[in-house]
Symmetry: C2
Subunit: 182 residues, 2 copies
C-alpha cells in the first residue's frame, strides 16, 4: 500500500512544529510523502527532507498551493481519499476496507477545514470522536493501515540500535558508533 | 488498566501546542491524567481541564515541579514506568507484557531528556526507532495498550454523532444540536 499525506492550511508563524511532527510521524509509520498547502514554508520543508535523507528511505515533502486540484489529481490517479476528522465515522468500523486499497491520499486539516473537503473525500474517518491532535490521528491511522509493521529505511546514514537503557546510534557517514549509556 | 502520563520539560513560550496535543491525545486514547514538569504553564493546564470537562470523562491535567520525585512516588504506588524514546526496544516486542500491568506511568520527553530517566524507567520503549513525534508515539502506544477500544466519556456536555459527510455535535448544555452538512 502506498500512502501520501496532504496537510491543509499550514501557517509559517504558528504551525512549523506540528506540521513537522505530522511529516516525521507519517514517514516513520509508512507514508511515502507529505504535501503541504497553505503558506509555502520552504525552510520547514527543506528541514524535513534533510532529516528524511539522513535517516533513510524515500520519503519526500513538498508544497502545493492548490489543495483542491491536488485532491482531484490524486483521485484521477486512483488514490482513495481519506479525510481524518473528529466528526467522521469511527476508524475501527472501516479499517478492513481501507487496508484493501492500493493507494491512499490521507488528508489532515489545520485549524479550519474547508467544507468541500468533507465531500471530496471518499471517507471521513475519526480516530476517536474526541478533540485531540492531527499528529495523533495520523499516527494511529497509519499504524492501523499497516497493522503495526516496522518499516525499512534503505540507505540510512543514521540508524538506532534498540537498547534496554541508554542510546546507541550507528552513523555510517563517519563510520562511527555513538553510544551513551546514559 | 490505569494510565498516567508525565510530560517532561515543558517550556511556556515554545511548547504549549505540542504539550496540549499530548494531553488531548492522552485523554482521547484512554489515559486518566497528565502531569507536566518543566515550566508551570497555568494557562495551558487550565485550558486543557476546561476542554476535558466539556467533552466529559475524568481526565485531569496538573503540574509537578519535581519530575524525579514524581516518578519515584508513582513507582511506590505500584505503577510500571514506561519511558517512550526512539532509542528504546521496539513496542511490538513488549506490548503483551505491558497489557498485563494494572497501572502505568507513561513518561514522554521534551527536547532533552535527563539520562536518569532511562534508568528510572522499568522499560524504555520505542514506537519505531525513527525520529518523529512524542504526540504520535504516545497515541500509538495508548492505542496498542487498550487494543484500539473506544473509550467512554461520562457527563459530556459536547458529544459528536459520527457522520459520513459533515458535522453533527450534540450540546447538552444548551440542549441544542448543531449540524453543519458542510
Amino acid at each position: 500500500m502506498k500512502v501520501s499525506v496532504l496537510r491543509l492550511g499550514h501557517r509559517i508563524g504558528r504551525d512549523p512544529r506540528i506540521s513537522t511532527h505530522c511529516a516525521l510521524a507519517a514517514r516513520a509509520l509508512g507514508a511515502s510523502e507529505i504535501i503541504y498547502s497553505g503558506e509555502n514554508d520552504e525552510k520547514m520543508i527543506d528541514g524535513i527532507n534533510k532529516t528524511a535523507q539522513r535517516w533513510g528511505g524515500k520519503f519526500c515533502a513538498r508544497y502545493d498551493l492548490e489543495w483542491k486540484k491536488c485532491i482531484l489529481s490524486y483521485k484521477k490517479k486512483g488514490y482513495f481519499v481519506v479525510h481524518l476528522t473528529m466528526y467522521g465515522i469511527q476508524a475501527g468500523s472501516v479499517m478492513m476496507k481501507i487496508r484493501k486499497q492500493k493507494k491512499i491520499l490521507l488528508v489532515v486539516g489545520g485549524e479550519k477545514v474547508h467544507p468541500e473537503v468533507y465531500h471530496l473525500a471518499d471517507k471521513n474517518i475519526a480516530v476517536t470522536n474526541q478533540p485531540h491532535s492531527e499528529v495523533a490521528a495520523l499516527a494511529v491511522f497509519l499504524h492501523e493501515c499497516f497493522l503495526g509493521k516496522e518499516h525499512k529505511f534503505s540507505k540510512a546514514r543514521l540508524r538506532i540500535v534498540p537498547q534496554e537503557k541508554g542510546k546507541k546510534v550507528l552513523n555510517k557517514e563517519s563510520s562511527s558508533l555513538k553510544k551513551h549509556n546514559s
